[in-house]
Subunit: 180 residues, 4 copies
């Protein structure tokens, strides 16, 4: 409505960081100015001590990710604020990983009431995602594979793209085409 | 009010990046979980093309910074969103540079209506700021000196700290003490 | 000879940075410990002022790269030192971009006298390279396309890989297989 | 001799990363072109898997650092190569942390035979170093304090600077003055 568009997209296979293996740079091909955020920037906004605390977020050596009560509370506030930027008139691109599947999407959905949204599911074959994770060199091994399934369970999309055999820029162009 | 506290602080002499020369890591010493944001993260959220456009933000070789209409519009939305996170219950630390002096503070002030705020002015002698800028190696030379005066003109603070001769952690502890 | 192997590889289409679009992480799949270096680390080792000087290295807005006398002198010393690490017994992976084509390879060739080397050419279709450059968001646009041809002119390889349709990890595994 | 100068400096209190709290940017104030390297760049050149292996390098949660046989072998080759760059005519700045105290310096000393070197000891009061470590936010807490003593034991310097109360740029200028 009202011409505003704020397309949160989940980028599971690649653990959400905007990067060459996903269409995280969709903002680079959108014609209008926008703000791009990702769950990684949210984690960076947390105090360092919360990145190794049970109440915050912990990364197991097998690639598992656990989050606690403080993390959930701050994340809820962050979601409200990002949506607030859209309400204030900014086009927003959000790159999130729905570790809670449908429940994660529900949280955004409720906050987004009345906002025009394009939901984009970004898939990648688990084996390819795992390979890209090794190639990046800065991710806990196993994370991509562990997340590949759960992040799509029960999630509803307006558009799906698959980066397994399609260049990330081409995926971004497909998304941009749907927004114009 | 309400126990929430969201202290935007301006960090002029050091051009705002949370770092060793300013109390950007004040979140590291606060007892309660919080989210920390800075103007640099806002600039990172802009599309790359806006970082070299007159409508966006441009950095002159003499350290001057110019911003255009698109930048101002997205920044206003960003401010609304950050304040929205505070309204949603999160403690927030904001590290901003008031290139517009009092006018920049006014924009935050209006958005922050009803929110409990501690305004902290962070100073540093221009010559020391310029030296730290060289030592960092990732800033346009001259930026610190050009910004040193303008960012404080007409700005009102609850607390002032000076990092010229005080370690940044000690400044952070002074700020934290005022919040508890 | 002697079991040491130091495979300098040129990574043109991707402008040499070890990253997901090239097999820069070949060290991740090699069975033995090794050191990995790239031309980007060399540029980072230069004083900041050389990164904007005619005697150093300058990046034009069209993606062109120019280097001067100081750059060439330090680069020659850097090449000698990297080869020195191989002579001292370390396996080395070098990720270079031969902006001077065959002449660039000659410089390495002379320094590498007596060292067992696998030369790997890494190709990528220019259009795909240009797209990845946009997706990365941290490269001067046009660089990939400008470099795509020149970096292979007259260069001799023991092995060629193409990242256009092959995942970078798979390219790395092909290279690793040739080394074992 | 010969006008070449390659001043390895140890930067203990700050755990060696060139940064605002130490004179790591000494290359920024030297009149002649040079290459700057640090132990952190060496660690970055290691395969990711060596950064969590007993044969490589491991970081304990108390700030302790342990290195194994593969690390020592590659480090010896790296030292040879860095010295090789100086022998090839480049001015070099090395920023190392002598976790092995005098024994660490001995390894450089032997490799540097015949090279003109300025040894600079960089100190910082442990409490201040610990505070800067917290302010940086990207270091294991306790590392600075644990390393503060051991890295100077038996080490011989031509020049000592102390960053406790002196700006890092001023320390860099003191070093540069000794080299001209």
């Amino acid at each position: 409505m009202s011409g505003r568009r704020s397309p949160p997209s989940s980028q599971p296979g690649t653990t959400s960081k905007p990067g060459p293996s996903g269409p995280g740079q969709v903002d680079a091909v959108l014609p209008d100015p926008c703000l791009a955020f990702g769950v990684d920037e949210f984690v960076d906004a947390l105090p360092a001590k919360m990145r190794e605390s049970d109440e915050g977020i912990t990364f197991a050596t097998d690639g598992g990710v656990s989050v606690g009560a403080d993390f959930m509370a701050l994340q809820a506030a962050w979601v409200e604020g990002i949506v607030g930027m859209a309400r204030a008139g900014a086009r927003i691109v959000v790159d999130d990983v729905f570790l809670g599947g449908a429940a994660s999407q529900q949280r955004w959905w409720k906050a987004l009431a009345g906002i025009d949204v394009l939901w984009v599911g970004v898939r990648c074959e688990p084996a390819v995602a795992a390979g890209r994770e090794i190639a990046r060199g800065d991710r806990t091994h196993g994370m991509a594979e562990l997340q590949a399934d759960v992040v799509h369970q029960g999630v509803v999309y307006d558009l799906k793209v698959d980066t397994t055999h399609t260049e990330s820029l081409d995926c971004a162009l497909i998304i941009a085409a749907r927004l114009s």
